[in-house]
């Protein structure tokens, strides 16, 4: 297991505030809502992990059904190129801070579908992945250990991969465009969000975001009408 180094850079000067921050991080790490996006066969190990046999809930991790109210996006197995689009839309709808976990060898390197034209390899090209749990498929114990690792990361103020999506948006967008074509656009305007969170960085902009800006049309509210 990897040792987690504690980041002290963001400590505030007031010691009381510091304690408060640590306390908040601890609480946050013990209350995680998990959106399990069951893309592949690895999802089979989740019901036992979540329910009475292995009982994830005793660690404070609960399943959630919508992306807007979830903290963790759990990708369970192979991601086809078509699904990957939906996964990205789902990820972008989640509120920060958010974490991505790739379960199964298929999310690491395509697994046994490494030769398939339809399966995306290497999930972290397209999304900032916090943690991979390899295995074909990983046992519930491994899933739970992985989630505990994530909890430790959050408690130790180390779970900041989600910021990477804003700070290096051009890289992720570039890979997405490479796979989905140049007219790829999601409904979420990541650059505006990055500005809003104060997370703009050098990597936010680049030639891929320029390409996006050329054809991006702003999201319109749906017209209000009744069906009669």
């Amino acid at each position: 297991m990897k040792n987690i180094e504690i980041k002290t850079t963001q400590q505030r000067t007031n010691p009381l505030a510091n304690v408060f921050d640590r306390f908040m991080q601890f609480c946050q790490s013990r209350s995680l809502f998990m959106l399990h996006y069951c893309t592949g066969c690895g999802a089979i190990e989740l019901p036992p992990a979540m329910t009475s046999r292995f009982d994830m809930e005793r660690l404070g991790i609960q399943p959630m059904v919508t992306p807007r109210q979830a903290d963790i996006l759990l990708i369970t197995g192979y991601v086809s190129v078509k699904t990957l689009k939906r996964v990205i839309l789902t990820y972008e709808q989640m509120q920060s801070p958010k974490y991505v976990i790739g379960i199964c060898s298929c999310t690491v390197n395509g697994g046994m579908y490494w030769q398939s034209y339809a399966t995306a390899k290497k999930l972290n090209d397209y999304l900032p992945v916090d943690l991979y749990i390899a295995g074909c498929m990983p046992r519930p114990e491994a899933v739970i250990e992985g989630l505990q690792l994530l909890q430790n990361k959050i408690a130790n103020n180390d779970g900041h991969s989600w910021k990477d999506y804003f700070q290096n948006y051009d890289y992720y967008l570039g890979n997405q465009q490479h796979l989905f074509g140049e007219d790829w656009q999601t409904p979420t305007d990541i650059i505006t969000e990055a500005k809003h969170y104060g997370l703009e960085a050098e990597g936010t902009y680049g030639k891929h975001t320029e390409l996006l800006a050329k054809h991006q049309h702003p999201l319109q509210p749906l017209p209000l009408k009744t069906n009669n």
């Binding site: 990897k2 690491v108 395509g110 034209y117 339809a118 570039g174 465009q177 891929h208």
Partner: protein, 190 residues
């Protein structure tokens, strides 16, 4: 319906009937006669269930083989009807009029092999709605080459693995088993 004693079979030229097993009959027939034959075994036999149409790409013979699997609930018997068509023209008469489920099987074969079924109600994309390359099940589609220049690979020996190896963990893989090396820089950096 006993195919062996059936006079109806005499209507078909170039037909070859093989009794594979008790409940399994293989019929080879020319592609013009497929619709006629299916109409007969459905109408006069009891083969009412077309459970699948499968396709094989015989690239060296320059032919596609289509297999129609028909099941009878009365005889408890499966007839698989084999036929071959030209690979270049890649056209076949639809059997949608005889078996309605053929619509989906034919549409599937259309997108995976590029065979057009004349008279099929909806010859368009089915599952691969976001794919615009060549039909991927064709033997001359090189999936591996496509994969190699579309995707990146995770490195087998990343730096962070050393920390884990120090603690006794790690990946056990022989160098000769490594299929690919991480392609860095990423394909988008060109």
């Amino acid at each position: 319906m006993n195919l062996q004693s059936n006079d109806l079979l005499k209507k078909f030229k170039n037909i070859k009937v093989t009794y594979v097993r008790d409940r399994r009959i293989r019929v080879d027939i020319s592609h013009e006669a497929v619709a006629n034959f299916l109409g007969m075994i459905k109408g006069q036999g009891s083969y009412i269930h077309l459970s699948a149409i499968s396709c094989v790409d015989w690239i060296k013979d320059n032919e596609f083989e289509l297999v129609y699997h028909c099941w009878s609930y009365e005889e408890n018997q499966l007839i698989s009807l084999h036929t071959r068509i030209n690979r270049k023209e890649a056209e076949m008469i639809s059997v949608y009029d005889i078996y309605k489920p053929a619509e989906f099987f034919e549409r599937d074969i259309f997108e995976m092999y590029g065979i057009t079924f004349i008279g099929s109600p909806k010859m368009e994309k089915f599952i691969l709605t976001e794919w615009d390359g060549m039909p991927p099940m064709l033997k001359d589609f090189d999936a591996e080459a496509y994969v190699m220049d579309t995707f990146n690979w995770t490195d087998y020996q990343p730096d962070w693995l050393k920390d884990i190896e120090k603690e006794g963990g790690g990946i056990a893989i022989k160098p000769e088993d490594i299929r690919f090396h991480a392609t860095s820089p990423s394909p988008t950096d060109d």
